[in-house]
């Protein structure tokens, strides 16, 4: 693919105390594609995402977003980059004290000089895109989990970003709502040619939305490829993960021999 690289992580290492969460991760995401990062719980997916959006600085290594090295930017320049990305959080992270409409309009009110009427129209359009037009006046606490995630999505695309990051967009949702969200992600990237980076361990959505998939395990990238390449991967860990089998090279339970020892200690 000769497409433009919009996100580039080079050898990113991050430690929390003694634990190494990210152990030298390098990925590239091309303009307009939907890139899925998958992996088991605690493998560093969300931490990687936070590095990609510049929320955390890596211990070593480099992250570039939209062609700019995040580590050398000052606060103002970083803000400028942040205005061109959107993020939909795992817990939706809507502001409880604001209505749905205010949540979506907040970035517009703060960062643009648009007239209030124009902002209202934009908010209605964004809510229409996620199928929630007419819900402007409700408070986040009055919405269901799926609706909250959709509002969060509307907020993430409020500024017409170049890249949207999704942290587990379908986790904890029923299959239909999950399907709706997957379709939304696809629509957004096809219609608005937004680059999407999705962190998930929902296999169904991985194979329905991804252009390319990266599999993470213990802070390393195991394999990167198209969904069909991943499906036919020879790597046993990747196979175990996509098939969800409890037996395989990825151990869920600790070794049995020290179990007895720990019990009687």
């Amino acid at each position: 693919m000769g497409a433009e690289v919009v996100i580039k992580a080079e050898n990113v290492v991050r430690k929390f105390g003694d634990r190494t969460i990210l152990n030298g991760i390098s990925i590239e995401v091309y303009k307009g594609e939907t890139f899925v990062i998958m992996g088991g719980s605690g493998c560093g997916k969300s931490t990687l995402l936070r590095h990609l959006i510049g929320a955390i600085k890596p211990d070593s290594g480099k992250v570039s977003l939209l062609g700019q090295d995040l580590s050398v930017l000052n606060e103002d320049e970083l803000d400028k980059v942040k205005k061109r990305i959107g993020m939909s959080f795992q817990s939706a992270a809507l502001f409880d004290s604001m209505t749905v409409g205010e949540n979506v309009s907040l970035p517009l009110k703060e960062h643009t000089k648009l007239d209030k009427n124009v902002i209202d129209i934009v908010v209605k359009m964004k809510l229409e895109m996620v199928g929630l037009r007419g819900f402007e006046a409700l408070m986040p606490s009055q919405l269901s989990g799926g609706m909250r995630k959709r509002v969060a999505l509307a907020r993430a695309i409020a500024m017409d970003p170049d890249i949207v990051f999704y942290d587990e967009p379908t986790a904890g949702l029923d299959p239909i709502v999950a399907g709706v969200i997957d379709k939304l992600i696809l629509d957004l990237s096809k219609k608005l040619s937004i680059t999407s980076v999705v962190v998930t361990h929902d296999m169904k959505s991985v194979f329905s939305i991804a252009d390319r998939v990266a599999m993470l395990y213990e802070g390393r990238v195991l394999e990167v490829g198209t969904p069909s390449q991943i499906k036919s991967s020879k790597n046993e860990m990747v196979q175990q993960f996509i098939n969800g089998s409890p037996d395989g090279p990825i151990k869920f339970f600790q070794q049995k021999d020290d179990y007895l020892e720990q019990l009687i200690k």
């Binding site: 929320a55 970083l78 795992q90 992270a93 409880d96 703060e110």
Partner: protein
């Protein structure tokens, strides 16, 4: 050796908190003063909302507390002063005591318990539910967006509340003086203001200004560094109230000392 290690780690931990709070203070002042120069204003409506919550919302309880404190000081001092036949001195006793000390301190304690706790709980919940992070990814600085309005609201409203507290305390003393000690109402007031100098009032207001800074910064700091779900929010709230109480008394002592030794 263990013992000294423990003391050392406690001191270092406290020092780190102090440094972080001072850093938050500097950051707040930066956004307050330099923000508008960079065309990044703090929203008037959110300052106003915080002022209503912190100030108007606390008014009734402040009035209640200071009114009864005024009555108590009057009764307690009357008991002693009666021995010298100096009942009339109840008036300046209450007035000066309220203006210098009890007005600012009691108001600050009430506000620390009510507003400081609410700030810590709100920001703490926002922190553990990723809302603070969401603000940051939208390129909205949490200090400018959340801390500065609360800071401004408290440093404006706490002195205002203190003025009310002073007046209500004096009113409480007045009621005891007139109805119980049978002092002449007119004489009660003239005597009060004969002894109560401007300095008594403004030193009290300076104190409440400092307490306002303390309560807002401690509340915001505890809230923003909350970790670990509902339990963390509870801890942050408790810690913010306890820390505010201790710091209020500490700063009260320091400021009183300062005014005391510089009065010559």
């Amino acid at each position: 050796m263990k013992f000294f290690e423990k003391i050392g780690s406690i001191i270092l931990g406290t020092l780190r908190h102090v440094i972080d709070v001072v850093a938050l203070f500097v950051d707040t002042l930066y956004w307050l003063i330099c923000g508008p120069l960079r065309n990044k204003f703090v929203k008037g409506e959110s300052i106003f909302a915080q002022m209503v919550f912190a100030g108007v919302g606390s008014l009734v309880i402040v009035i209640f507390v200071s009114f009864f404190t005024g009555i108590v000081i009057a009764m307690q001092s009357a008991c002693q002063l009666a021995r010298f036949g100096a009942n009339i001195y109840v008036a300046p006793m209450v007035a000066v005591g309220m203006a210098r000390e009890l007005g600012p301190v009691l108001t600050a304690l009430v506000v620390a318990g009510r507003v400081g706790a609410a700030i810590a709980a709100e920001l703490g919940t926002m922190q553990v539910t990723e809302q603070i992070e969401a603000l940051e990814t939208m390129a909205l600085n949490p200090v400018r967006f959340l801390v500065v309005p609360r800071f401004l609201a408290l440093i404006i409203m706490l002195p205002c509340l203190t003025v009310f507290a002073d007046m209500m305390g004096i009113l409480g003393g007045f009621i005891v003086g007139v109805f119980n000690l049978n002092l002449n109402p007119y004489r009660y007031f003239t005597f009060s203001f004969k002894f109560m100098a401007w300095k008594d009032v403004w030193t009290g207001l300076v104190k409440s200004f400092v307490f306002g800074i303390t309560i807002s910064l401690v509340g915001c700091y505890m809230g923003l560094k909350t970790k670990g779900g509902a339990e963390g929010v509870g801890k942050a709230t408790t810690l913010s109230v306890v820390t505010s109480f201790i710091l209020i008394i500490l700063f009260d002592c320091l400021l009183t000392g300062l005014f005391y030794f510089t009065q010559q």
